[in-house]
Symmetry: C2
Subunit: 311 residues, 2 copies
């Protein structure tokens, strides 16, 4: 995953994604005591940054592979992103979803042209079902985060942010599987000589935080966080990149996540999902350490069920 | 209120307001069957277009008048806007609010530096209290909508929209007191040779709709609409402008307002208040009449209590 590969990846996916806006708020700058630049992937196609990695992964398949389609397991943003990216590229997408996924999430996948395949709600069942579909259809399995092409694709958000704001001192990112932060860390390493990348992670799913301390990939026994996008397991491709290039991980409580989310909604008038609020909550929690700095925050997505809000 | 005066007004207020972004959504264009351009005054200072008229009105006071301050009655967006505009211009603002206004609204005014004066929750009491304050302090009364300088200021939103999208066929606007739509209609008349202005109004507060039919200002006996910004009475300065320059008013039900609001939240990931949703609801209701047209929609504000949502 070289600088050249990241640049090529960006050229490749650019026609299929939005270069999302970077928003600022004087009120928030005042509150944090720093200049904060929000890279708004909530305005991205399918409502989250995930379309970047999904598009990059599909575009690099051979023609034969494309004919056979792609398969993933996700009940979240990657399911929608892969479905939409596949449709844009005339490829079939098979999405393995736990049978207990909310109908609204299944509908979103269907709306974007994905084919939903249900499985038992266990980690083993979803991988086995994905393998079965891959064997049966020849579809290529694309992991939502633990895949170098996906990581590179997700890095294009940070790349665009740094092209627009080259003087950033820090970029804050949420950590779930680690695809977004690993890609962001690569972008920051290649496109800035000073910008440090900091992760935000819920206490309730702090596998990455604990992994950095122990030096090996830790798992979450439970992941009882409102930040549903961050419940997933840190991946083996992502972890070494995070170890090498991510400066620090700041953990936040559920209450801090909810408050940060409400604050952004009320003050910036934009809808962000709880996972996105984690990055801002991390910054806010430790704002004294970042006074007068220039800080990017990646708002990873805006897919929220507005009928079920935590406030 | 000539073209020259509108241009001068825009130059005057420009340093004190945001030139808010114009957003589009392919999904919404597809749903409506037209090109829709949302002028996002929800991203305006104090969360609504009202700061435009408030700023213009204060800036045209004499120095002596400025020393004595300004007074208005409002429990909504104009209260916050006048407070903030006054603070930016080093003027005192006295805001008359009904004693039963939610504390959150009083706090918002206080936060922007306004002085809250409570009155009995009747129309007579609020005007009398405003008159008392004006007599006591010498403060100049500025009506939230029925004031030529306020109308002209509100017109700068439509002016900016037309400068960015000069080929609009229509602009949709909510109607409450009529300041925004009257200003927009003037902007459209002066800066386009084809753009028509259409109002959206709740059935539950359709005084403007009925006034256009009867040819005289009608009143709302009740105004039981979720679109709290539109409960106010159509004004005497605004009505003749609306009569002359507004093409049509489309009325919408409470359910249509709520659905339009939720749709914009979910699909555009922006927070808009119910009054803003009225304009889009009107467009959606009659979309068959606007196929393939180029349509501006003024999103008037984003001040919503996220703890009390209708969905």
């Amino acid at each position: 995953m070289t600088k050249k590969e990241l640049i090529e990846c960006h050229s490749r996916v650019k026609p299929y994604i939005h270069n999302t806006p970077v928003l600022t708020s004087r009120l928030i700058n005042k509150r944090i005591g720093a200049d904060v630049f929000f890279k708004c992937e909530n305005f991205q196609k399918a409502g989250a940054y995930k379309i970047r990695g999904a598009t990059n992964a599909i575009m690099q398949l051979t023609d034969t592979q494309k004919q056979n389609g792609v398969v993933t397991h996700s009940s979240g943003n990657f399911a929608q992103a892969l479905s939409l990216a596949a449709r844009s590229l005339n490829v079939n997408a098979y999405i393995i979803m736990p049978s207990n996924s909310p109908q609204v999430k299944k509908n979103a996948v269907l709306e974007y042209g994905g084919e939903v395949i249900e499985c038992e709600p266990t980690i083993d069942a979803r991988q086995k079902t994905a393998d079965d579909i891959a064997n049966k259809t020849g579809a290529k399995f694309i992991h939502p985060s633990n895949n170098p092409k996906v990581i590179l694709g997700q890095g294009t958000a940070g790349l665009e942010l740094l092209l627009e704001q080259p003087n950033l001192d820090y970029i804050f990112c949420p950590i779930g599987g680690g695809g977004l932060i690993a890609g962001t860390a690569l972008a920051s390493t290649y496109f800035s000589n000073k910008c440090k990348v900091i992760g935000g992670e819920p206490y309730e799913a702090d596998d990455a935080y604990r992994s950095l301390i122990s030096g090996k990939i830790e798992t979450n026994v439970t992941a009882n966080t409102i930040a549903d996008g961050l419940r997933t397991q840190l991946g083996s491709y992502n972890f070494p990149i995070i170890q090498e290039y991510v400066t620090r991980i700041i953990r936040v409580t559920e209450n801090e996540i909810i408050q940060a989310m409400q604050f952004i909604w009320e003050r910036m008038k934009i809808i962000i999902e709880p996972s996105s609020a984690v990055a801002f909550a991390a910054l806010e929690k430790e704002k004294e350490s970042f006074k007068n700095q220039s800080i990017g925050v990646i708002i990873s997505g805006g897919n929220v069920d507005v009928n079920q809000l935590p406030f």
